[in-house]
Symmetry: C3
Subunit: 246 residues, 3 copies
């Protein structure tokens, strides 16, 4: 299952039933748990002096697609899945079942919860703090420097179940609370309270997100989305979500 052209350090720990594609490079101190798949041309465990620990741990059943680059110094949970050409820098803690789209970029020192899903071209700046079950759609950009360039980086914070639609820009230090929904192309300069819809550039809180209805069935509330969208989540999660009062 390990392609003969792959270059694997003898100091890497490769689990059972791991597939490593052609022309991959796995450096020292990488731990790939059982049942992982690494696409061709991927390089895992690049060394950087910025890494707090000289180790890269990737959990069971993860799928790294081709041409991806992951540095040493991060701990990534089971069921991690990436598109192609992604980069993940050092010192990030990534929960289980997290998904990155193609060309996704985690710039380092980030914290990402469980089941958070990013589409293509999402750029997560250093020191971002993203909760669980968050959705980041294409070309979302989380920044961190209020007066660039500076040494005073302030990461963005995003609460559980929040949704950031395509091309949203979040300014440094902004806090987006649980269940908030940010409309496409918005520029978020101020904190967004729980469950609110935020829209515009310059943007503002518009209303409760729970007012929005599904485009194909106006009888169904669109948000919180966990009441209606369940693909890829555990039965336990779904049961809990359905049992929550509205």
């Amino acid at each position: 299952m390990i392609h003969q052209t792959a270059i694997i350090s003898s100091n890497a720990k490769i689990g059972h039933n791991v597939t490593i594609g052609a022309f991959c490079i796995i450096h020292d101190n990488v731990e790939l748990a059982d049942n992982c798949v690494v696409g061709s041309y991927s390089e895992l465990g690049l060394i950087t002096p910025l890494a707090n620990v000289n180790q890269l741990i990737i959990g069971e059943g993860s799928i790294i697609r081709s041409h991806s680059v992951i540095y040493n110094g991060s701990i990534i949970g089971e069921g991690f899945s990436t598109g192609h050409h992604v980069t993940v820098r050092e010192n990030s803690l990534i929960g289980k079942n997290v998904q990155l789209g193609s060309r996704g970029d985690i710039q380092g020192d980030c914290c990402i919860g469980d089941y958070t899903k990013m589409h293509a071209d999402v750029h997560v700046g250093k020191f971002s703090n993203i909760g669980s079950y968050v959705w980041l759609f294409p070309e979302v950009l989380l920044t961190n420097d209020p007066t660039p360039p500076s040494e005073n980086l302030q990461g963005v914070t995003i609460g559980d179940f929040a949704v950031l639609a395509a091309k949203v820009l979040v300014l440094p230090g902004v806090k987006i609370q649980k269940d908030a929904v940010i409309a496409a192309a918005s520029v978020v300069k101020t904190d967004v309270p729980e469950g609110k819809l935020f829209s515009g550039n310059p943007g503002k809180v518009v209303c409760n997100a729970s007012i929005l209805r599904c485009a194909d069935n106006p009888k169904i509330k669109a948000y919180p989305w966990r009441k209606r969208f369940h693909r890829g989540y555990s039965e336990d999660d779904i049961q809990q979500w359905l049992s929550e009062s509205k």
Copy 2:
């Protein structure tokens, strides 16, 4: 013409005079017609359970630049040309002489006509339907989910000869008609009628696109562009365009 380091499946059909660069991977059921060139580090024919047909067909004289990834399940016409680091997913029908810029991303189940040209970083969401002779400039993003996340994806439709300038965002299900021109950085939430100029965020139809003049010669109408810009088109097309009444 096939580099010795390339890995070519014995079930791939490689035409005459095809060049395949170093470290390429060509999987089963890929058909590369005559005179194609595949840049280094490209992987063609990746298998996905989402593909409707277990085949990838790429037409004569196509040029795939390096580090590109094309899945099984698409049919691509002659004269296809890509930049570097592109991704094309399954079930897309792509006409002849289509051009993708570097990091272009066709997300799958798309239909693209002939001679449509995209610059760098264009992201075409699933179920997009793009006509012929369309221009998509850098960082154009075509979305598909009106209440993300959902299962109700509604692709964008773009008519022939339309122009979408840099950083344009098109919202799900929007129809942009033939000869429309969308100004840079616009957010398109509503349909755009034939031949109109649309601009802004929130944007609106501003005027007929035919009012615009060339920056370097105000005597020449800028749109429809086919009356004045002919590089890379066939003599037949050009003659027809010039003979159309204004």
Copy 3:
């Protein structure tokens, strides 16, 4: 220091103490000066008929990170540093100590001064003219075609020490003067005078940039940034900047 899987032309000139990673391709007429490091899967010196000179020169101590592509025809100064998956096209003159972030794209025929730094996903259109000590933050896009598509490309000009924050779009032919600051997500359609803050879409000059204060210390003027931010610059530069009158 040259990996055994790398493919190096016998017509390339490789300096002393150069490191070339696995699966790299170095074509004819590439000159890599002493102490350069080239990451895996990078291809340097691609031939194009658009190149004015059949040569690629990369200065001493440069670091090209993995999966990058640099064409023939450019001259790049010492201390060049790139992220992953970058592309640099032909006929560009790039000064010393220039930095490109991951997926950075220099489209060709550009001129870039010394110590200019770009974050991830910066797209520099053909014929851009960028000064020294400029900062371009993520997803900045410099365009060049006032009536796309056309043959009348007009590159953007950016003066020394200017700062373009995240997701800024600059329209063709615009001139941004020295020390100007462009706020995040702005669309720049008009020239920006020296030292001004420009913001919005449609944007305008708002005030002198020198009014802005540091977020973590309101006693310190944020701009010109060279009075307060010195990481990575030479002692001579810093001394000169500190000695300038305010």
